[in-house]
Amino acid sequence: MVIFLRIELIDISKSFGDVKALDHVNLTINSGEILGLLGENGAGKSTLMNILFGLYRMDEGEIRIDGRPARISSPQDAISKGIFMVHQQFKLIPTYTVLDNLFINYVKGMDSLKPRRVKDEVRIVEELMKSLGFYLPLDEKIGNLPLGVQQRVEIIKAFLRGASIIILDEPTTNLTPLEVEELFKLMRDLKKKGIGFVFITHKLREVMEIADRVAVLRKGRLVGERRIHETNPEELVEMMVGQRIENLYQFELKPSEQRMEPVLELRDVVYAEKGILKLKNISIRVYPGEIYGIAGIAGNGQSELLNIITGYLKPSSGKIVFEGKDITNTPILKRIELGIRVIYEDRVRDGALPSLPIFDNSILGDHVFPPFAKGKILNRDEISARAERIVRIFKVATPSISKIAGRLSGGNLQKLMVGRALDKQPRLLVAYTPTRGLDVATTRFVLEKIVEVRNNGGAVIYIGEDLDELISISDRIGVMYKGELMGELQRKEFSKEVIGKMMAGYRLAEAMSK
């Protein structure tokens, strides 16, 4: 049975260089309870939890467990006391099997030199999984599994080690809506067994759904704690941001003008990779002054669609027309010159060069065009001016533009990526979940900026997973399923239910009638 724990964090402070990440924070965590932890990007949520997990050292403060002072100076200490943390970047080795990942450092001391009893290990894990009602392929390599499954490996890892408190740092960021539901079910089941959770997220809806209690951090300070049924999203936003934000999901969409020529037209685009059809006869038209939303669960062809538009992938058949010209065979840089801007799905893999400074990253893609380049020579003044502008307008938190981009916090790097795409009004903007990992206020800000592109006459393709966002800013929404467009809805027809069904594979007509 799970041991009951009551953890008190008392007056915890922590600085990184000049940055005061935590300033005398007090917080109580209990097993058998789900504590939501909210706060803007950089508020100190991860830092606080890393201190509890023994990964970071606190400058000041004390941790008490069941009233007694506890020394936690390494993850080893934390694990032995029943605390486990699942980081946003999973701590799994992709080339190892699920079973190996589960059992790293599970057996200690002299026993660890005895032959492994793999059969017994499998039995233990299978019993655990049975009691939780799900199944993991234990012989599969981690790298071959979707993120949702990897997360379960992490949670089983915690459970296997007898954790009473499991910390989940932004566990839903990379999950599909279905996976989020499954995670919540698992959390509820484990809660019934007496396990407590600290649940970090930026999505208020999720906190309202799953948490029993919620604590809010702002700029390293605890601003408040509430029981969940004593609060509401508006109040929580106010606590996080420090001011009221009315109508989080309302935007001013200027009525668009008469339909002119489309900015982008995809005609029967087919894309196959290694004989597998990834895009099936996609036809889309996007007009100036319009946001075309693309809904769908990740992995249904959205990445391929984005890469076909940027020119990174070539369609197997079909045509791409941009402002009346066929660009099917036009190379990437030429398309950028035409005014196609992109916010990539994976900012670190595709969007940025993490080892280069901010100023270089702020012109990637435009680096061969004036005014940033004259022939082969880069113009440093223009580059700096642009970087400074992006940092100012998009409030990228950084001491200087010569800081290495990889050292920015995730949210701030994302703001840089958005700023780069929007610095010059694009003719066509393709954005793939540009608000991933951003806090409430920043999400609102980024969405406003994208709506601004639309209101200024630009065309936008917005690929998203969050239906609230899609519905709030799109003029039309197309739903993708297994590489196919299941249908298109006009703004006045938007309904979460219908879109949800289409995301699960129903065509528009079927989804409407059921």
Binding site: F16, F53, L55, Y56, R57, S74, P75, Q76, I79, S80, M85, H87, Q89, K91, L92, I93, T95, Y96, D100, N101, F103, I104, N105, Y106, V107, K108, D111, S112, L113, K114, P115, R116, K157, P354, G406, R407
Partner: protein, 310 residues
Amino acid sequence: MASAIESLLFYLMVAFVPYALASYGIMISGRVGLFNVSGEGVMLLTASAAFLTTYKTSSYMLGFMVGVGLGALLGAIFTFVSDKLKINQFIVGLTLFIFATGLGGFLYKVIVGVVLVPPRVQVLSPIKIPVLSDIPIIGPMLFSQNILVYITIILGLLFHYILFKTHFGLKLRAVGDSPRVADVLGVNVGLMRYTFGIIGSALMGLAGAYLPLCFTGTFTETIVSGRGWIAIAITLFGRWNPVPIIFGSLVFSGVEVLVYWLQAQRVAVPYQFLLMLPFIVTLLILIYTSRRLEMPLSIGKHYDREAIEE
């Protein structure tokens, strides 16, 4: 003829030991994330020190202990400088190589000086295993060898068992593949790195000591003749796994014995070309394996708990 083959096979195993031991050393350090390229130098220093010790004291035990001890010390320095002071592992390894090579030659010159007839020690005598050593051909090859041959084979199998059949091995590999994952699961990454950084280099020291004490009976400045570098190739070629390393080492000792045999046969090939042979084999093997090179995932990287992940 039979006795000629017997003797070639016997020497195949004698020459096998230094390759295998040095490769184990590189492999086991690499498995905790340390790429130690100083082997060539470590071997020269320990060959020199072990030879001088045994020459002066007539104790083989003492000679081996000095070799292993010096190897361990250099391993401790390597781990400290690269892990604690965060200096690039290749730079540290190359620096130690140069330092140890110089020191090895220097020690010999100081203690022995320049002499017409270099001093010699008797090479360690074989231990015959009763009955088995009488089997023709494989008897002398496998069961009538000096003790280090037996130890080397057993060590390889032991490494294989520990790395792939035990929880300790899983933990050890995890440190080299992802120190962060290991750390988060409560592994003492620093301790593991020191332990196996030291053990790895101690094995190179043992390989160095072996050369004069079991192989040549004398010390010259060319005694290591590239084995420390070739061991790196063997490790890469064996993908950091003990059993393939045993086979890789046999390939190179085979080439070595072949060169020796060709020389003895007075074939009309220039001597210098024969000496190039091991390096040509290295080159070919590396060209072949480099296409599917496998390394411990975090080898060569520092680990800092509080650094932001990349």
